[in-house]
Each structure stands twice: as C-alpha cells, then as structure tokens.
C-alpha cells in the first residue's frame, strides 16, 4: 500500500466514523463545536501547505480566511446573491488575493515574509475598522462599505433553517465535515503528488532545486493559489455558520490559536496539523472555565512545544517509531 493510499483510507474511515456522530450525540453545543473544528481543520491543513510543505513563512492565511468570509457576506448583503453561489465566488476572490500576496513576497526570505504578510493583514484590518463613511443607510443604521467595526449580518444562509427548522445545525455539521474531508484529501493529493515534491525541494535546498529547473516563481504562486481556495471556502462557510462576520476574524488571538495547532501537531506533515487541531480544541474547551488564564495557557503551550518539540507531535511519533525500529 502506498503512503498516499494509506492516508486516503485513514481520512475516509475517520470521515465515516464522524458522520455517525450527530446520531449518537444529541447535544447541540457539541455538534456546533465540531462544525467549528471542521472549519479550523480546513484552514490549518491549507496553511500547512504554505508554512510546512513549501516552507514559506506566511502569516497571511487568517487574512485570506477573512477575505473569504467578508466576500461572502458582502456578495450576500449588497447583491442578495444566494449563499451557494456566493461561497465559491468568495473562494475565487480569495485565490486571486493570495496570488497577489505570493507575488509580493516572491523575492523575500524567511522573517521578511512573516513581517510583510503580517503587515498586509494589519492593513486590511485597519481599512475595515477605520471605514466609517456610510455606504448605504438601511433602517438599522449607517452601513460602511466594509462593515466597519460592527461587520455584516443578515446576508442570507444556505437555506437549512427554512428546510429543517431548529435542526439546521446538523446540516451545517455535514457541510463542515464535507469541506474538511475535501480539504484533507486535497492536501494529501498535493503533498504526495509532483507539486508537493517541487515545494519540498524548494524548501529544503532552493539552490539545487532551481538549478534543476524548478521555477520558484511558478511554484510559489501555485502554492499560494492552491492553498487559498479551501481557506476562502472555509471563511465563507464560517460566515454562513455564524450568520455574521466582524473584524474579530483578524485578531491576533485567532491567528495564534491556529498557528499553535500547526506547530503543536507538526509542520509539513499530513496528520500533524489535524492532530494539533484536535488537541488545541480540547485544551481550549478544558480551559474555558479558567477565563483569563486561557490565553496564558495557550501562549505557554505554543512556546513550550516550539522549544522542546520543534517537530510537533507528528515528529515525536516518527522519532518513537525510528527508535523502536532500531531496537527491533
């Protein structure tokens, strides 16, 4: 069995098991949290393609997520576009935005990329928050073009509320699961495919890769464009799931939370970021009672993992396996 086939089978088995969950667990809170978990899974698996597999230190992924969410909300709000059309349109917008960011970072290396992408996210955030001029004047009050501090709400949904009544959240659970499965399969296909090979070659030895005819220009734009599609779609689904989008999606706390998932799980591996997402969602739930201590806990987790286990849980697993193989 090839590694790619093994990963696909693991993914499908896990998806089949998770699809039974709503039948077993009746608690609405748990199902909704699982839906949020699926959204984060999509984001971290795609971010991992840029950060871990291609080794480009981009922090723009949350800004792209926000672009997807805002584009969906704005298409629904201003053009009354049905969400089912607005979501893919928003994903396309996100891909375009990501390719532009990729172009901007093309000649930069390492930390310069991180700072530039952070600056870009900050510019978008400031533009949204400082937008105070009224674009339209609905009965609810002045509405800036980008939503301002309040953000958007009431821009439509996927129609499950009308169809299923109070059980709509179960339908959203399956939409989230579907998106997460597609995103994971997509990342498996990329990592095991020729594109992944090129990304890893450029990450590990740029000089050698370039001299063997692997174009940095071409593949950097590919990785930015490819990883943005599902990220934008996840943002779009986030908007639909919560029925509102505000500037909070740009906050450093959310960025930190998702970055921790990738780092704790293991950058550049297929299952690492997923594992990290599971762990941090659980830890987050566990620390919910602790209030202010939660952020301290998250910060510590991030620092301790980077310092003591730089390859994450997936790296720890690989290390143990190597140790056992040597013993045997």
């Amino acid at each position: 069995m090839t590694p790619a086939r093994r990963d696909v089978i693991i993914c499908l088995v896990a998806a089949a098991a998770l699809s039974l969950l709503p039948a077993l667990v009746g608690m609405r809170y748990a199902i909704t949290q699982m839906t949020v978990f699926f959204i984060w899974v999509v984001v971290v698996t795609q971010w991992n393609l840029v950060l871990g597999v291609a080794g480009i230190f981009s922090l723009a992924q949350m800004a792209l997520f926000a672009v997807g969410a805002y584009a969906t909300a704005m298409l629904g709000y201003y053009f009354a576009l049905p969400m089912i059309l607005a979501m893919p349109a928003a994903a396309a917008v996100t891909v375009a935005a990501s390719v532009v960011i990729g172009l901007a970072c093309l000649r930069l290396r390492g930390p310069y990329v991180a700072l530039l992408t952070l600056a870009i996210s900050q510019v978008i955030y400031l533009l949204v928050v400082n937008d105070t001029a009224c674009f339209t004047n609905p009965p609810s009050g002045c509405m800036p073009f980008l939503g301002g501090v309040r953000g958007f709400s009431r821009f439509g949904d996927l129609g499950f509320r009308a169809l299923l009544g109070s059980k709509w959240y179960i339908a959203h659970y399956y939409v989230g699961l579907g998106l997460a499965v597609l995103a994971v399969l997509f990342s498996i296909a990329i990592i095991h495919g020729p594109l992944g090979l090129a990304f890893k070659a450029l990450r590990d030895s740029p000089g050698y890769a370039i001299s063997r005819g692997i174009s940095k220009f071409k593949y950097q734009l590919w990785v930015f464009g490819l990883s943005a599609f599902f990220t934008g779609l996840a943002g779009a689904f986030y908007a639909v799931q919560f029925g509102a989008v505000g500037p909070i999606v740009f906050s450093l706390a959310v960025l930190l939370f998702l970055l921790s998932m990738i780092v704790v799980g293991g950058m550049g591996t297929i299952w690492g970021p997923l594992l990290g997402a599971v762990l941090l969602m659980l830890a987050d739930e566990g620390m919910r009672e602790l209030g202010d201590w939660r952020d301290i806990g998250l910060g510590l987790v991030l620092a301790v993992f980077v310092i003591l286990l730089p390859r994450g849980l997936a790296g720890l697993g690989a290390g143990l396996r190597a140790l056992l193989a040597r013993r045997a």
Binding site: F57, Y112, Q122, T132, V263, D292, D295, G299, L300, I307
Partner: protein
C-alpha cells in the same frame, strides 16, 4: 508656518520614540537573527513597572525608570535562556524563535492584564506645561522625550563603538563563526544584547505610555511599527533603523495632518509593502550573496 513647526515637532517626537525601541530590535536581529515578537509585551511591562514603582512604592520618577529598565532587562535575559539558547543550533531557528516569542509575548501580556486589569491608566511620569515657540505650543513632555531618546541613542552608540562589549557585539553581528574563533563568548553577547534590548524597550514603553496612557496590549502597535522600521531600514542595521525611525515618524505626522489619523498606519504599511517589493532587503540593507 505654525502648522509646519507643529507637524515637525510631533513627527520628531514620534520618530524618537520609535527609534529607541527599534534600536533594541535591530541589535537583536543583527546579532542573533532573531525577531523578538515578545517586544510589545516588554514595552507594556516597562510602562507598568514604572507606574507601580511611582504610585505603589512611592519612588521618584528616575528610580521608576531605572527599576523598569532592570525588570525588562531581566525579562530579556530570561527569554534568551528559556527560548533562544535551547534552539540556537536548530536549522529553522528564525522561524521557531519567531513562533516561540509570539507565545511568550502572549503570556507576558496576559500576566500584565491579570496584575493590573484591563482599564487604561495614565502614566504618572509626566511633565506639565509647554514651551511656546512663536505661537506654537510644544509640551515639555515632548521635549523631554526627544532629549531622553537622543541621550539613549548616544549611549548605545558609545557602547557599540567605544567599549569592548560593543566591539564583541559588532563582531558577532558581522560574522558569528569568526567572532567565536577569535575567542568571543557569543552566548554572553547574545544574553547582553537581549538584556539591553529589554531595557531599551522599557524606556520606550514609558515614553509611549506617557503620551497615550497604559494598557496591557499597548505594545502591539509600537512593536509592529518598530518592525516596519527595521524592515524598511534592512533588518539588523542599527544606524539605518534610527534614520528610518525619524523619517517614518515625520512621515506619519504629515500623513496624519493631510489625510487624517485613521489612515496614517495603513498608509505607512502600504509604503512598506512597496519598499519591500522594490528592495527586498530594505533601503539600507545589502543583498546577501548566498553560497550554495
């Protein structure tokens, strides 16, 4: 004419404040290739320690500043020993230390939040009154900030150029391996640089908070600006960073006057993005020749 004096005066004050915190970041990057994302939290800590020393302990302002510099210097030292040193040898040091210091910064910021609460407080170290130039009022506070900033920059320049420690720091920044071969204990240099950067951050935090008030998350914005300045100048270039800080401070106050306050930071960032695309290693940075 009055407007020009006013804009230049506030621009110079801003630039001087940025310069002090930027020097620390540039020194750290120059010698360790480390971007310290906990810098913003250290900035806030400096402001709060000064507040604590002056209100709760009843110390005079100078002692408050001194205490803040010592505490923040120790925090810098702790970051070196807890985070940077264990990772120095690893291949992805630059990425890892970036992430680790984001985590440590979040911890520090939330500790401050727990200790001092979320409500904004005024910085007690403040000079009342204003000098009158023609018809323009320039607060004494701004003049004090400018004077302190120039004194700090002069002190750092003296340290770097005239002392053994400074020579060791410069040698390490130029070439880590060669410095080590010449018998410089680079571990000690790193520790000194991070402690110095922490102490400078404390001064900068006190200055910023004396104008805008204390908040646990007050450091985020100045830190991003300091990074922006470092990047524009070319990471690790100390003198370039000072020049860029003054220029960006002036530019910011001009943009604030012409376009309005809410667009100043966004415009600056757009400018930086353009600079980076045009000159990937910054304005004063030399593009490195990489041997394969």
């Amino acid at each position: 004419m009055d407007v020009i004096v006013q804009v230049v005066a506030s621009g110079l004050t801003l630039g001087a404040m940025y310069a002090v915190s930027t020097i620390g970041l540039a020194l750290v990057y120059g010698s360790l290739n480390m971007l310290n994302m906990a810098h913003g939290a250290i900035l806030a800590l400096g402001g709060y320690v000064c507040l604590y020393a002056m209100t709760t302990l009843g110390l005079p302002g100078v002692a408050g500043v001194g205490l803040a510099m010592i505490v923040c210097g120790l925090v810098g030292l702790a970051i070196y020993h807890l985070a940077a040193r264990p990772m120095l040898a690893s291949r992805n040091f630059e990425t890892q230390i970036f992430i680790a210091t984001i985590g440590l910064g979040a911890v520090l910021e939330n500790v401050i939040l727990r200790l001092f609460g979320p409500q904004p407080v005024a910085q007690p170290l403040n000079l009342a009154g204003a000098a009158i130039v023609g018809t323009v009022h320039i607060p004494y506070q701004n003049i004090l900030i400018l004077a302190v900033a120039i004194a700090m920059m002069a002190a750092v320049a003296l340290l770097l150029n005239r002392t053994r420690t400074g020579r060791a720091i410069r040698a390490t920044a130029q070439n880590r391996d060669a410095a080590q071969l010449m018998g410089i204990r680079i571990g000690r240099v790193y520790a000194q640089v991070l402690a110095l950067s922490g102490a400078l951050a404390a001064v900068s935090g006190i200055m910023i908070s004396s104008l805008s008030g204390l908040l646990p998350n007050m450091g985020g914005d100045p830190m991003l600006k300091a990074f922006v300045i470092c990047v524009v100048a070319g990471l690790g270039n100390v003198y370039g960073a000072v020049a860029a800080a003054i220029v960006l401070g002036l530019l910011e106050s001009i943009i604030q006057y012409v376009l309005g306050v809410q667009y100043s930071f966004a415009t600056l960032l757009v400018l930086v993005i353009v600079v980076l695309i045009w000159r990937p290693a910054g304005l004063f940075g030399r593009s490195q020749v990489v041997r394969l």
